[in-house]
Structure formats: structure tokens, C-alpha cells
Symmetry: C2
Subunit: 100 residues, 2 copies
DNA sequence: ATAACATATGAATTAGATTTCATATGAAAT
DNA sequence: ATTTCATATGAAATCTAATTCATATGTTAT
């Protein structure tokens, strides 16, 4: 049986912070410090997380002066999120998707 | 900012074993012991993992005599896998999606 | 060249999730 | 009713991944 290891991809969107980053960037590109400020999280924490996401090409980066602007890879990620949203709405009446 | 907590959904497909289970069930429904045998994994390990996946409605279960038959929720999961596959193929030349 | 700001990175720690092991539950057969 | 087979479950142990903290790197301005 061949089984592609997409697990790294899923791992990379599987935490609360990263999901929040994705949601935030869905509204538009942001710099690291902007993300930190909005989410109320520490800079190194955010940077570590951004790095992982960029490695999976979930995010793109570009340098702008001193800043690094991160943006969603809308091309592939948005459609995936849409499908997941559909799954959740269809099968999960609020409670189902929560941590126990 | 509203940010739905889909992270539990992603977590639930984010490990090697679970990805393997999904790939296996993509070929058709299987009982717990069949899955154990094919993957060469312990029964309780598989059961714990199946439980999580079923809680997220990624899998369905039905009782057949003594056995429990697990199957993929093809309706929503297959399309998601297809999109992820697309992402991986587009952006990741083998190396990218591997553990470091 | 140096200072100031923005971000990245390494290593230790911490936190959380997975596995393991022992045992419990449930279904069918005798 | 009891045994057997199939699966589930709880709790402890183990792993792995995320966070933290200190510091390094990189960029622009002076």
C-alpha cells in the first residue's frame, strides 16, 4: 500500500495558534509584529510557527524594508479550508469539534 | 476576529498512523482486527486512534456481529485529501513534505 | 561604523498527545 | 451460564511538538 505522508501538511495547520494565523492572514498579508500584536502572542513564538507554515508553502513571505510580510497561499489553502468548513457544518453541531 | 477551531479536525488526520488508516480505508471498509493485521499495529493503539477519527466524523462505524467495521466518510474526506494532494504536488518536490 | 528596530534561531523546558499494558465490555456460540 | 473472540477503555509511561528565553542576524537610518 502506498500512503503519501501528507501528515506533515496537516500537522502544520493543526494547532490553535496556526489556525489563528491562517484566519488572520485570510483578511490580508501582515508583518510578524502585526500578527504578534493582534494575537497577543510573543514574537519568537509567532516566528517559529510562521517558519513551519512557510516551509509547507501554506504561507508566502516577502521582505519589505525591515519587515517580513506573510500571506496565505490562497491558491490551495482557501479551497481546503472551505471544504473543511463544509465537513464541520455538516457533521458537527458545535460540540463535536471541541477539545475534551 | 472569529476563528473557527478546525484545528481538532486537522489534528485528527495529522499523524502517520491515522494517515495510514485513512489510506487503507480508502480502499474499502475494514474491521479493527483487519486494520491491525495489515498495518502491523497493536489492537488498542488502533482502537484509540479509530475512536478519535470517528468522533470527528472522519470515519463511520457499524457493528457486524462481533466486529466493528470502520469506513471513510467519503463524502467530505476524499475531496479534502484530493485538494491536499494537489497542494503537495504543486509546491512540494518530494523533500518538502518530509519530517526533518 | 554604530544604533535601533524587526525578525530569526538554537537549546532547554514544558506541555500535550500517543502508545502501552492491563483490564473491561460486548456479542455470538456452546 | 460460560467461554471465546472482537473491540473498547483507563491510567501510566513515553514521545513529540510547542513554547520560552536568550541571543544572533539582518535591514535601515544616522
Amino acid at each position: 500500500m502506498k500512503c503519501p505522508s501528507y501528515n506533515l501538511f496537516f500537522e502544520t495547520i493543526a494547532t490553535k495558534v496556526r489556525m489563528e494565523i491562517m484566519c488572520l492572514l485570510r483578511e490580508g498579508p501582515k508583518s510578524v509584529s502585526q500578527i504578534c500584536k493582534i494575537l497577543g502572542e510573543e514574537q519568537s513564538k509567532i516566528s517559529h510557527n510562521l517558519k513551519k507554515m512557510a516551509e509547507c508553502h501554506i504561507l508566502d513571505v516577502k521582505q519589505e524594508g525591515k519587515q517580513r510580510i506573510y500571506s496565505l497561499n490562497k491558491d490551495t489553502i482557501i479551497p481546503i479550508l472551505d471544504l473543511v468548513e463544509k465537513h464541520v457544518h455538516k457533521y458537527c453541531g458545535q460540540e463535536c469539534m471541541k477539545k475534551k
